[in-house]
Each structure stands twice: as C-alpha cells, then as structure tokens.
Amino acid sequence: MRLVLVFYFAAVAWAQSALDRPSLGMMLDPGGRIRPVFGISGSVTVGDPQGSGVLSVACSREFCLTKTRDAIIFNGQETGAPVGPALFAFRGNSAWIYFPQVRQLAQWQDGQITPVALAITGEVLSLRVPSGGAMEFAVRRDNVTWIVNAQDQAVDSIPTESGPAMLLTDGVLYARAGAAILRRDDGSEIRFPVEGAESFSALGEGYVQVRAGGTSYAIHTARGRERMFQLPESPP
C-alpha cells in the first residue's frame, strides 16, 4: 500500500494561523477581574482584564465560563443564574455548573442553563465528568472529604479536612499541611509546597490556579509535566 504524505503548513484544522501565541487560560485576580494568561509554564504574561465582578471562572480546552453575582458569561453573553459563586465541570462543548449558595446543579449548553436534580449531601467542593464516565462530586461532610457519584455513594475519599479540593480528569488536587497535593487515580502523588491555599480554579486545560493570600500560582497538571509556578500579579 502506498501512503501519500504531503505536508503543508497552513491554517486548516482550526481556522487559525499555523503559529499562535500559546494561552494557558484565564486567571482570576484579587480584584475580581479575569485576565488571559499567555506563554508556557514558568514564563507567562498576563493580559488586560476581560471582565470584572467575577466570582468564579473556569476554562477548558475549548472555552471559558465566568460567574458573576447572578449570571454565567460566555463570550460576553450573559445568562441569568443563581446568585453566588459556581463550580464547573466541562465535557466537550457543554458544562455542568454547581451553584453552592443555592445547592443547585445545572447543565450549560449553548448559553442555556437547565437545572438538574441533585441529591448530594454535604458541602460540594468540586465536580467532574470523566470521559465516558458518570459525574462525580467532591463533598465534605463532618470534616471528611469524599468523592461521591450522582447517587451520593462514596467512591473514594480525599485526605483533607478543611482545604480546597478539585477533581481532575485523572486525579484530584487538594490542599493539606502547607502543600497542594496532586493525587493521580493510580495513587501516585506529587506535592507542591504552598502555604495557605484558599481556592482552586480551572485556569485552563491542564492548569489549575491556586490562590493563597495575595499570591496566585498555577499548577500544570498534565501527566509528566507537573509543575507549579507563580502567576504574575496584575499591574495596578
């Protein structure tokens, strides 16, 4: 069999130029503004604010969603949503959003939000939709953090009593004892020293923003390229 391989260097696949400036995603600064983060691990620059009054933000490979007081924003379009922050889980071009303040789950698709019934007990810290799997939640009950399925059945636990925890595609990131710990589903762990981690958010595909005090860090969670680095503080 004859295989013809003719390469060309052009913008065919994503209707973009063949050479682009890499983007890690969006970070949330202490002033509630989201800013694009450009570059690669350990060498990033932060762009101008893209929005303000943001309570939560998360980005997948395909897109970003931001949550203001009472709206979900996608590409500048607002969709009314319950008040308070939000937790996100992406799957392709859709997302699942949990509103902790009203304990409500919803599905986001093409700018529409559809409430979804959920009977999870405890404080929901994070959610994920594994590829080809069912939705899972990280919940805290009586200072014990569990990973439960949509039927509220525990499938795993996370050894953190009070810090933030975030479910990843193939593991979990949680804070404990002056470190952010990346635990893979195979049980391996990587510790990143960071004191006082307060929150995790999906900076972009394979990147988690860690906020600790007035400083933000990014943890690259891609397997084999795990690394934590500091994000530039926003200029005044």
Partner: protein, 461 residues
Amino acid sequence: MKILLILALAPFAADAQLTLVTFNGTNSSPVGSTYNFGTIAAGDTISVVFRVVNNSTSPATITAPAVSGVGFTVTAVNGSTSFIPPAPSPLNFLAFTVAFSASLPASYSASLEIASLSAILLATVVPAPSLTIFPPCTGDSSTGTIEFGSLQNAAPHGCNFSLQNPNSRPLVISNIGITGAFQGSNIQALPVTLAPGQATTFAIEVEPPCGTTAIQGALAVNTHSYAIAGSGFDPLLPKPSIAFDAQTFSSAEQHAVTMTLPSPALCKATGYLNLAFTPNANGLVTDDAAVEFLAGSTRALPFTATANSTQVSINGQASAMFQTGTTAGKITFTLTQAQINGDPTTSIVIPPAAISIEGATASDQRAGELDVAIEAFDNTYSAGSMSFTFFDTSGKMIGSPVTANFTSQFGAYFTSQQNTGSSFLMRVSFPVGGNQALVATVETTLTNSAGQAQTGTLTFQ
C-alpha cells in the same frame, strides 16, 4: 504774671505724656533714671531697643535721640520722622536702638536724651578669653561662627577648643555652655580662674541623626556667644550583595532574588531594584516582556535597608520572584535612587538552548488529515528546521522522515509577537492518501541554532 506762668508750663505738660521704655521684642519695660546694659566681654557688642511712647491724645513732635558716652551709639531709628501719633494709635511710639561695645575692660556710662526724657546708660566690660579652634573645625572670622563642616550622619564627630587668658590679670571663666545639636565634654569644673596666659580646654561633639541636613548650635563663654554650624549627610549604603536561589539559569524558570549588606546600614536607605533584559537573539526581538518581577508584573521594585541591619527588604518581602522568560540573553539587576558605596550591578546569563517542548499532540480525527500540534519555545529565535517521522501500527517507519524548513514563517511569527517571548503553538497538517488508520505514531524533531529537540512518540488519536 499769672498768664506767663501758665504758658511756661505748657511744654512740660505735653512732654509729661512721653515715657521711655525698653522693648525686647515682646514686652516693654519702663526705664528709670538709669539703665544698665550689663556685663559683656571686651570686643562684644550689645544692643538695646528703646521706645518713646506718646501717652497723650495729641501728637508729639520730638527730636532724634542723642547718646553721649564712650562706646554707646544710636544705631537705628525707626523711620525718618520723629512725629508720634496720639494714643491709642498702635504707632504712638518712636523706636531706636542703642548699641554698646568697648575693647578695654572697665565700667562705662553715657547719657541718653530724647525730647525732655533722659537716662544714664551703664555697662561693664570684662576681659574676654581667647578661643582657639582646633581642626577639623574652623572659625569663620567674618561671622564669628564655628564651622564643623560637612558631617556624616549617624557617626560621632568632635572638635577640641582652648580658652586662654590673654590678659595681664586673672580671668574668671564662669560659664561654658553648648546648646543646640552639640554637646560639650571634658569641660573643667566651673568657675575656673585662668592666670595670665593660662588656658583650659574642652571638646564639642555632635552625632547628627540620619536625615540631618543642617546642624546648628551655639557656644557661650561667659557673656560671649559663638554660633556653631555644620551640615549633615547620610552615609553611603554598603554595597549590597544581590543573590539568587540558583547558580545557573535557564529560560522559563522562576527564581528568587535577595539583597543583603556586608555590614549593617548606618541609616535607613530606600531605592529601587531594577531588572533589565538584553536579548542575544538574532535581531528579531529587542526584549522579552516575560522577564519581570512577578509582584506587580514590573521591572522595578522598591527596596528598603533598615538602619542597623544587614537585611534588605524588596517590595516589603525578604525576597522577590522573577521570571527568566523565553529568550536567551542577559538579565541585569541594578539599584537606583540610593547612594551606594560601590556598584552592586549583577547579571545572570540565560544561555541559548535547544527548543523546549511543553507539550505535543497528534490527531487523526479529520478525514484525510494528520495533525500535529506542538507547544514549545525557542530562546534562540532560530526555529524552523524540523522533521517528522511516521510509523505504522507495527512500529515500522513509513517512508523516510519528512523534513521542512519553516524558518521564514517562524521569523515572521516572532517579529509579530512584539517582544512577548519565543513561546509558540505550532500546528502542522499532513494530507494523507490511502488508509489513514495505518499511520499510528509520529516523532518530531525540531532544530534550532542550539541543538535539536524531540517530541518523543506521539500517538495519533
């Protein structure tokens, strides 16, 4: 006869409304038949301001004051007129100054007359000791000021002085007083009587605090006073050592920089720690914006050296984090806006390196296309040459490696990025004829002026 008497008394009735007082700038004191200027040293001058006050409701016209006596002179009269408005005008007085000075020790007197008023002025002159000023202090003969010169703040300074009796008879030193920023030391117990030609010594010291610019004080010896003056300046900050948390550096790293002093700072000092970047790229870029301090995304952070400490805080912290960017070159750290004893400029070198691959994927999700995406950076800005080697599902290489040279495209891309670094996301697509599923993996080699980098085996998925 009766009429004439009334006319003769009229001028005296008017003059009786005038009184003579002294005025010290704040208060007035009536002058009786005598006024004593006190005791002064030979050669000194003492001045007293007198006022003639009109207490009547009519204006008074008087002549200028007159003083007769050795050493006494009228040195000033307020204005050219001697017309005094009636009370209660605020200007119902005439002021004048009488100065006294004499070089020979003795008792002096003079007569002061103005209008119908008169008073006897008295003064006593005593011998003056001779003051010798030793280096580094000097005496300004024109102003009579003792000059300490330019003094470093936060350090002690002193000068020695000698008081000698130049007279042929004993001289009593009853007072040696130092005021202002200065202090006296080694002063003999007073009073002390100096025999002719005998001297006594003492010292005057000063330690100006940090931030002092002008230093003032006075030395009083008996009745004579000397002004003391000097100027202060903060000492230079010992040359800080700018240190890092690593010995060698590469692109895409974050490091901490600290500053320490070889000896404690005598005074607090502030300034800026600056970072500058000089790329050694091939002319495509002039900077790399990612080379910056992470605090505030800036290239200048304030630093503070605290007095009596060797530690220097940067932006209020013990250290400051910075990025090395994605461009080979030199990062230079300098200090500005602080007076430093030496040049603390420190540089680190970011050497050229082979292309660093952050991530790579291979996709066969598009019919008839194989897509390879590579996220990387090239700190030499010379990328472009690359090769792709395809393998089938059995691991056998398909054909020969496909080579390409995209140097011009990379050059255009780097130029368009306006000094934001050398990171790039490259997408390459390969049209495929035949059974696309037979192509299982690809290995990519990227070459720049510093070497080669491989993606490893990428599985199409």
